[in-house]
Symmetry: C2
Subunit: 135 residues, 2 copies
């Protein structure tokens, strides 16, 4: 079986050692082998970390990620909870994307505007108003 040191896992996942230990402390990473005072990780741990990062990067709070894995351990009893958690999270991501897209347009307008301002200042011509550029 292929195994990894904490350093290798850290490099592969981009998570610092401290975070890997922290995730283990709070029960997010389970069954990490402790042998001769060293942690040993397997591909299963790497997959789990990938999953954690997917949740984390979509702004699911750690408590909810923990909940998800608790449910997964009792799939039969918790199937409704797990489906609801996932569907709610899917909606959350869709909403996050549309919020970002909406605000992106506004930021792009700002980029336009301040570039025009910059140009005007460089050429010593009057600074445009927001409405000159955007309105």
């Amino acid at each position: 079986m292929i195994t990894y040191t904490i350093k290798e896992v850290s490099e592969k996942t981009g998570l610092p050692h401290s975070t890997l230990r922290y995730y283990e402390d709070i029960g997010l990473l389970k069954d990490v082998i402790h042998e001769k005072n060293k942690r040993i990780y397997t591909d299963e741990h790497l997959r789990r970390i990938e999953g954690i990062l997917c949740f984390k990067n979509t702004n699911l709070p750690i408590k909810k990620i923990l909940e998800f894995y608790r449910y997964e351990e009792n799939l039969e009893e918790a199937i409704n909870d797990i489906v609801e958690l996932m569907e709610t999270h899917e909606i959350s991501i869709v909403n996050q994307i549309s919020t970002l897209q909406h605000h992106l347009e506004h930021i792009q307008q700002k980029v336009s505007y301040y570039n025009k301002v910059k140009e005007s200042l460089e050429n010593n011509i009057p600074i445009p108003t927001w409405d000159d550029v955007i309105g």
Copy 2:
């Protein structure tokens, strides 16, 4: 001039009183009029809060938002900084969107998978593996 109480601003912006006071404390909201022991807000404040929320909702940290408004007060000297801040932020938002879109696909697969699991449990048929549903 149209003015607003803290309550009205809170209702219009969705920000609690405490947050409006906090933003004022840290210098994010400026020139709020204090009259007869009450705060008075104008449409300019509302526009400023809109801007703050645009930045906040796109995950620009408060320190950077403060920086932006400090730059804006010295547009001529800080035009390069402000353009850089905005362009960097634009890129950040584009990256956030694509990260979310990428992870959304994975979450949608999970939704599919757990819905199949749920169905199987309800019909007393064997639970599919991930590869059965997704692979």
